[in-house]
């Protein structure tokens, strides 16, 4: 108990939790089926306190699991046995918006949606918009390199991180990066920490890049008799040198669930629904929207709707936004997948997923980001039905292998964590994985930070 006493004298009793009720409520994250009680949960409030906690834990070789809002979808913040959960929600300040350099500085616990709202006050824009942005923390987004709906045009979290301050496994504090757009001084260590899933260091401050806020936006909803027609539409739009900010799709199962749930009048006999948005200068937006409608029609869209105003645009977008909710309420356990393939292979992959589920008699709805090939096959199941869970794992294995055969990746935006660990070697091969492990061993030789995540 020496460690707990030391943590308590460092942070104060109110910021060190050890009661059973607290341990239970920090034993999981947003991922289905993973659960493990930690030994304690601590809430540091400064970088120095984070460093202090790491040093105390290191003395007894206690693993440290960094956590933000716990919305992760790969088990990245599920504790390991005996670990201390280091929760950064009390370090949540947005420190400054620098309109001259187009940057925003924030503590790691700042909420993603608040960051964009703060940027908006200055007419600026923070594009990455993961599905949980209303509660996810920026530290978690950087550690997982989160994506979102705007990937095709605006990229992902990595593209907006200019500097990170990190507490290293030995308790030292380092900063990587700066306000400069150009910076080639040595290795880009900053990029090593982005997406490192809390295994290399604890991010305690970030400097983000902002963009001017787009002035206009137009939303279009189109339905198709086949997924191929939707995919061809997307390819043709990109070939026409239009980069929409949103190109989202739902498959037939998802369309049916959304219609059941929202009664918004979607045609349930459609095989695919495409939600498209273009943003930017009003004149360019009007022109692009018109051309996108034309292309969709030419590629056999059954129905194409363009939103006349913001309210209608939100209404159309709700078909996509409610996709996950609509699926999640169908069954007690929802397993959300994240495989990603090159855009040109998307229709093939969607067909393969549906076929695999049919063969194994499983229920799956697939939706996701057609613009960047990121799919979210969502299995609707019940974790108490062990027989069915076995089949779900079998299906996952088949889907991942197919993804890799198409030149895709086992995870587009959720991270490896615990959920994707079994397949990392398949994707990377021995040499790449070996080098990755060498980095981990060099920076964290005692394996203190988020051990057994990404790889063993």
């Amino acid at each position: 108990m020496v460690m707990i006493d030391k943590l308590t004298s460092l942070l104060g009793a109110g910021d060190v939790l050890t009661e059973q009720e607290d341990l239970v409520s920090y034993s999981f994250d947003g991922t289905a089926t993973f659960r493990q009680l930690p030994r304690a949960v601590v809430f540091p409030r400064t970088t120095q306190e984070v460093a202090g906690c790491v040093k105390v834990c290191r003395e007894s070789g206690t693993p440290v699991i960094t956590r933000g809002a716990g919305t992760g979808l790969s088990g990245g913040t599920v504790p390991t046995e005996g670990a201390v959960v280091l929760c950064l929600v009390h370090m949540a300040e947005i420190l400054e918006v620098d309109a001259a350099n187009l940057t925003l500085r924030a503590e790691p616990g700042a909420i993603t949606a608040d960051i964009d709202a703060e940027a908006a006050k200055h007419g600026l824009f923070y594009p990455p918009d993961p599905g949980s942005m209303k509660i996810s923390t920026i530290g978690g987004n950087v550690a997982e390199n989160s994506g979102g709906l705007r990937g095709l045009k605006y990229g992902v979290t990595r593209d907006y991180v200019m500097e990170v301050t990190v507490v290293l496994p030995d308790g030292e504090v380092a900063a990587f990066g700066n306000r400069c757009v150009k910076d080639v001084a040595g290795y880009s260590m900053r990029d090593l920490f982005i997406g490192s899933e809390g295994t290399l260091g604890i991010i305690t401050e970030v400097l983000l890049k902002l963009l001017p806020r787009p002035e206009a936006r137009r939303t279009i909803l189109a339905t198709f008799a086949s997924m191929e027609a939707a995919a061809e539409t997307v390819s043709a739009i990109i070939a026409a040198r239009i980069i929409p900010c949103t190109l989202e799709f739902l498959d037939q199962m998802t369309i049916r669930c959304v219609e059941d749930y929202t009664k918004m009048g979607l045609p349930t006999d459609c095989a695919a629904l495409l939600l498209m948005e273009t943003d930017g200068h009003p004149a360019a937006v009007a022109d692009e929207a018109e051309r996108m409608v034309e292309i969709a029609r030419k590629h056999g869209a059954r129905e194409v709707k363009t939103a006349a105003d913001e309210a209608e645009s939100l209404q159309l977008a709700s078909a996509r936004r409610s996709a996950f909710s609509a699926l999640a309420r169908v069954s007690p356990t929802t397993i959300l997948e994240d495989v990603t393939v090159p855009r040109s292979c998307l229709a093939e992959m969607v067909a393969y997923i549906a076929e695999t589920a049919r063969k194994l008699e499983l229920t799956v709805g697939t939706f996701g980001h057609m613009g960047d090939g990121n799919l979210h096959p969502t299995f609707l199941t019940d974790e108490r039905n062990l027989e069915e869970m076995k089949k779900v794992h079998q299906a996952l294995d088949l889907i991942v292998k197919k993804t890799l055969s198409l030149g895709g990746t086992i995870t587009g935006e959720h991270g490896v964590g615990l959920a994707k660990k079994p397949w990392l070697r398949d994707q990377l091969g021995d040499v790449s994985l070996g080098l990755m492990k060498k980095f981990k061993e060099t920076i964290d030789p005692e394996n203190l930070l988020n051990p057994h995540k990404i790889f063993d």
Partner: protein
């Protein structure tokens, strides 16, 4: 134990995505998982699977939860938090985890005694009105005086003195629920509701003596008493005799839509649930007649506070706003965080005064920022809580505004 006996899929339905966290007022205060819906459900689940003993920590937690159900509105997976919340509180009561003689006495006096006996409740109300008119509270010790201030100011007359058992005629045969606190403190709102219904073609049946709907019992872990009250209401107002059953109080309406869950073997309960309507919802459904006059002589700026159990419990969000917006001479400004709990939450202001005060101050700040001198809300708990904190504000029920406007037509 209910948590162990219930279908486990109800607990499993929570996929711990965390979307409820930003809407939970207690999580917002502490930023601790156990004070969030996701954390609380994880505790319930651990109790159900014998991974956690149900002890005082859990009892404290379920007492700290407001039961505002904002999490239900935010939940992508459709978790029945209200059901889990009531089952937990009932288990906690059964196990006797909340101690204290004072608490027992108060619970006996209110839940078991007064709120089971509508006639006695009105007599107690009369006694309290006399007490209030005499200003007797000044003789109380300071601690009790603070409590006393939270009690509703009892009205001069109760619903049965203001409303005939049957009024009006027309297309719809309507049963009108007068409520308990609404009846004691705001009987005029019941009068206004009947006026509005009559003006919109309803034959309104308002039995002079009505049992409590049992919401307060279910909310506080007294399932048996909640059942008894539900049965009495079904006896008094058999649902097959009416087209709709109208409630004008968010809390009562929310509870009364789930009698079938409480009384699964009573065939009438299902029909009852299907016929319960919030007054605003009903008015919008039957295309309420827009008033031709304004409710006030001058133009007024108003704002609307969503009662938790109207917005989250019953998902009635737009209809009250639509009713308000019909009124000539009334400009409605949207209230920031309008669907956040005001801290009233049944007896929460008594059981958790600190958190209740925080929420009330937050609410009052947002109300002041609108610049409105009139606040509209449709639940007696919120009405009382906000009016007590902001005496300068005119707190009214939207239906009162509509009734005033109709009266000004002639």
């Amino acid at each position: 134990m209910r948590l162990k006996e219930m279908d486990f899929s109800v607990l499993q339905q929570c996929m711990h995505c965390g979307m409820c966290l930003p809407t939970c007022p207690t999580y917002d205060t502490t930023k601790r998982e156990r004070n969030s819906p996701r954390g609380r459900i994880s505790l319930m689940r651990a109790i159900a699977t014998d991974d956690l003993e149900m002890a005082e920590g859990f009892a404290d937690e379920m007492s700290f939860c407001l039961g505002c159900l904002a999490c239900e509105s935010a939940c992508p997976a459709g978790v029945d938090y209200a059901g889990l919340f009531e089952a937990s509180r009932a288990d906690i009561e059964e196990k006797g985890l909340n101690k204290g003689l004072g608490r027992k006495l108060v619970r006996f006096g209110t839940l078991e005694f007064l709120f089971m006996r509508p006639r006695l409740l009105r007599w107690a109300g009369r006694g309290m009105r006399l007490w209030q008119k005499l200003g007797a509270a000044k003789f109380l010790p300071a601690r009790l005086r603070a409590l006393e201030r939270q009690a509703p100011e009892i009205g001069e007359r109760f619903s049965n003195e203001l409303i005939e058992p049957i009024e009006g005629e027309g297309k719809w045969k309507v049963a009108m629920l007068t409520g308990c606190v609404q009846d004691l403190a705001y009987a005029e709102i019941n009068r206004d509701t009947v006026d509005v219904l009559v003006a919109n073609g309803c034959e309104v049946h308002t039995p002079p003596v009505q049992p409590c709907c049992g919401s307060i019992h279910a909310h506080n872990g007294e399932e048996e008493m909640a059942r008894a009250n539900a049965r009495r209401l079904l006896d008094l107002l058999p649902p097959d005799s009416f087209d709709v059953i109208i409630s004008n109080a968010g809390g009562c309406g929310s509870h009364m839509r789930h009698f079938a869950k409480l009384l699964p073997n009573d065939g009438r309960a299902k029909e009852w649930d299907a016929k319960v309507r919030d007054i605003h919802e009903f008015l919008v459904e039957v295309k309420v007649r827009p008033p031709m006059a304004a409710p006030f002589e001058e133009k007024v700026r108003v704002t609307y506070h969503d009662s938790c159990h109207l917005a989250h419990g019953q998902k009635v969000v737009l209809p009250p706003r639509m009713v308000i917006d019909l009124m000539p001479g009334v400009t409605r400004v949207e209230l920031k965080e309008s669907d956040w709990c005001c801290g009233s939450a049944g007896v929460y202001s008594l059981t958790q005064p600190e958190q209740s005060r925080l929420l009330l101050e937050r609410k009052a700040g947002h109300i002041r920022a609108t610049g409105a001198k009139i606040l509209l809300t449709a639940n007696p708990g919120c009405h009382l809580q906000i009016q007590n904190a902001m005496p300068e504000l005119n707190v009214l029920h939207p239906v009162t505004l509509l009734a005033k406007a109709y009266r000004n037509e002639c």
